[in-house]
Point group: C2
Chain length 383, copies 2
C-alpha cells in the first residue's frame, strides 16, 4: 500500500483527504497443489508460514479431498483449524457469515491469521465476506474447486451473500491474498457442475474472444466426459485471464456498465423463481439464450451466429427440463437489476461471436419471443 | 478511481493482478448546515441532487433537530426517506445493520442512492457499515452531531459494530462521499457527551500536539458550559485535522502500530465490564489516566507532565463514581487487544505532552499501581 496527502484549506474550513491504495494478488495455476511432491517451495505454504489458519472447506469437497488437505497442512507444521461448510444458495446468508465469524473469534483468529476458502463459488463468496468484515479485514486465500470457481468467483474481488430473495445483495470488494487453481479438484465434478462451468466459459468467450468460443465448441465434450487435459487447461486458463483483464479495468465497479454482466441479467430471476433448483451456471446458460435471441431479433446478431450459439447450448443441455418463469415475470425483475446498476438496465447483448454491447431497451414482447423460441426447443417446460 | 495492469506470466502459470484505487473525500466545517440562509450553494445539496436519499438520524437528535432537517430536504426538493435510529452501544449489532439494509431494500434504495448518517459515533458506525455492504457499496455522507463524532468517527473511514462482547469487532474501511461538521449541533449536548468529547480531544493532543493540549487546559470550561465560540471551534478543527493527518498515513491500517490507539487499549474492557455504563469517551479518559501512570512509573513521562494530565482529567471529571474492574481483569483483556493488533500489544504511552511511543511490555503490577493511584483519587469506586 502506498499513501496519501492532506491538503488543508483552512480558509474554506475544508479538509481534503486523498488516498491511493495499491492492492495486488496472484492467481496461481498449480497441478496437485496438496500432493506430496508439491510440498517444497509450494507458494501456498510460503504465504501461510507462521500465521494461524482457519481453513473452511465445502463439506462435499471435504468428503473427497479432506484427508489430503488435512495431511498437507499437518505435515507441513501449520497451525490451523478446519471447518466444514454446508455451502448452498440457501445457506449463503448473513447467518452463515456470522456463524463463521463467531467460530473464528472463539478460536482466537487474529488480524494476521488467514482464512482459506476451499470450494465452489458459494464457499468463496461466504468465506471472503466473513474475512472482509472479521476484525475489519483479515487476509484470505481462495482455492476454487469448480470451473465456475476458477473462472468467475476465484479471479475477482467480489464477496457476498444473498439477502431476502435477492442474490448477492450484500457484500463487498475484497482482494484476496492469493488464489490457487488446481485442476485436480475438477475430476470429481458432477455433470451439472461441469455444465455450469461451460456456461460461464461460453459467457466470457461470447463477449471477449472468438478463439475461446471455437475451442469450447470443439472440446466441450472433453469437459463433459471429465477428461481434463492440455486443451481443457488452456480453455480454463484463457477464460480466467480474459475475465481478469476485463475486471481489472474497474475492480471496484465504479462503472456499472460491465460486459461481464452478460448472462447475468435474467439469471437472478431464473434462479430465484426456481427456488434455486436451477443452479447459477445453468441460469447463465438460459440467460445467454434469451439475450442472444433478443440480439438476433434486434438485428444486432446474425442468424448464423445465433444458430451457432443455440446449437452449442442445446448440445451441452441442462440437467433437467426446468420450468421457466413467464416473460412478464422476467420483465418485472429488470427493475431490480436497474436498482443494482444505478438506474440503468445495461443489458449486454452479443454483436457477434466474441463481442458484446449494451442496451437499455428491452420490451416484454422481446422477452416473450425469446421464451417462446427456447421453450419450443423442448429443452424447458412451458409455464 | 484509476486503474490496473495485468502481467501474464504464462510460463509460470501465474496471473498477477495489480490495482491502484484512489479515493478522496472532503471534511467540511459549516455553521448552520440546515439553516435557511445556507440553502444556496450548499455543498451537501450539490452532492445529493438527483439521488435518492436514505437519511438515518439518531432518535435523540431527531427530537431536537428533526423538523429542521426534514424541512431542509423537503424545501430543496430532495427525494428522501427518513429513518430514526435507536443508537446505543447495545444496539450497535449486526441485527441493526440488517434491519437498516432491509428497510433500504424495501424502499428501493439503489446503488447510486446515498445514505446520510446524522448522529454521534455509534450512528455513523452503524450506517457506514450498512452502506458499505448494501449492494456491495452504496455512497454515504456523515454528519456528526457530537464532538466525538466530529473529531473521531467522522473524519476516518472505519465503520463497524460490536460482536458478542467485543467492541467494533466486525466492520470495514469505507471512505464516505463527504463529511459535514456543524457546531450548531453541539449546543444541545449533555455534560456527559461533552466530557466524552474532551477526552478524545486530550487523547489526540497528548500524542500529537502540545499547543492543542494547552488550549484544552485553558478553555475546556467553555466546552463544559456549552459555550461554543471561536476558541472551541479552533480546538475541534485542530483535533480533526491532527487526526486526519495521522489516519491518512495508513487509512486501511496495514500497520497496526497506531499512535491514535492511545487511550484505546484498556478502554474496551472498561466499557464492556461496566456493561456500557461507562461511555466510550469517558473510558478513553480513564485509559489515558492508566496509560499515563504506567508511563510515569516506567520513567518515560516526567512527574510534572503526569501531574498536569492527572489534574486536567480530575477537573473535567466523570459523570459518575464508576466502579472499575480489577487490575487482573484489565491485564487479561490485553490478550484480545493483541489478537486485534496482529499479535503485538502496541500500548501507546505518552513520552511527554504532545508525543507518544509504543511498548509491548505491561505487567499486571503496573496496572495495579495505576488503578490504586486513580482509585485513591476518589474519582472511582474501588472494586
Amino acid at each position: 500500500m502506498k499513501f496519501s496527502e492532506i491538503k488543508k484549506k483552512h480558509q474554506n474550513n475544508i479538509l481534503n483527504i486523498k488516498q491511493t491504495v495499491e492492492a495486488s494478488y496472484s492467481v496461481h495455476f498449480i497441478k496437485g497443489l496438496f500432493k506430496k511432491n508439491n510440498h517444497n517451495e509450494n507458494p501456498l505454504l510460503m504465504l501461510c508460514k507462521g500465521n494461524k489458519l482457519i481453513i473452511v472447506v465445502d463439506e462435499n469437497v471435504y468428503k473427497k479431498f479432506g484427508r489430503e488437505i488435512e495431511q498437507f497442512f499437518s505435515m507441513n507444521g501449520c497451525n490451523f483449524i478446519l471447518h466444514k461448510l454446508n455451502a448452498s444458495e440457501k445457506n449463503k446468508t448473513i447467518s452463515s457469515v456470522i456463524r463463521l465469524c463467531d467460530m473464528a473469534k472463539k478460536n482466537r483468529i487474529q488480524r494476521n491469521s488467514i482464512f482459506i476458502a476451499i470450494g465452489g463459488g458459494i464457499t468463496l463468496d461466504i468465506v471472503g465476506f466473513a474475512a472482509s468484515i472479521f476484525r475489519r479485514r483479515t487476509p484470505y486465500i481462495k482455492i476454487p474447486t469448480t470451473i465456475v470457481g476458477i473462472i468467475d468467483a476465484g479471479v475477482g474481488v467480489k464477496v457476498g451473500i444473498n439477502f431476502g430473495k435477492s442474490k448477492n445483495f450484500l457484500g463487498g470488494y475484497y482482494p484476496p491474498l492469493a488464489v490457487f487453481n488446481d485442476q485436480s479438484f475438477l475430476k470429481t465434478l458432477t455433470a451439472k457442475e461441469i455444465r455450469c462451468g461451460l456456461y460461464e466459459l461460453i459467457k466470457i468467450a461470447l463477449i471477449k474472444d472468438p478463439s475461446l468460443y471455437y475451442l469450447i465448441e470443439r472440446y466441450y465434450r472433453d469437459l463433459m466426459e471429465n477428461d481434463f487435459n492440455k486443451r481443457t487447461e488452456e480453455m480454463i486458463f484463457l477464460a480466467a485471464s480474459l475475465l481478469i483483464k476485463e475486471l481489472t479495468v474497474d475492480l471496484l465497479e465504479s462503472n456499472l456498465q460491465r460486459l461481464v454482466d452478460f448472462g447475468h441479467t435474467f439469471s437472478p430471476c431464473l434462479e430465484m423463481k426456481s427456488e434455486n433448483e436451477i443452479p447459477h451456471g445453468e441460469a447463465v446458460g438460459i440467460d445467454i439464450l434469451i439475450s442472444s435471441h433478443i440480439a438476433f431479433k434486434k438485428n444486432l446478431l446474425s442468424q448464423a451466429d445465433f444458430d451457432s450459439i443455440f446449437s452449442l447450448i442445446k448440445s451441452i443441455g441442462f440437467s433437467k427440463k426446468y420450468s421457466l418463469p413467464k416473460a412478464k415475470q422476467l420483465y418485472s425483475s429488470l427493475d431490480d437489476i436497474r436498482c443494482h446498476r444505478a438506474g440503468s438496465l445495461n443489458l449486454v447483448l452479443p454483436n457477434r461471436i466474441g463481442a458484446g454491447n449494451f442496451t437499455n431497451y428491452c420490451s416484454v414482447e422481446e422477452i416473450k419471443h425469446a421464451m417462446d423460441f427456447i421453450c419450443d426447443s423442448e429443452m424447458f417446460q412451458r409455464n
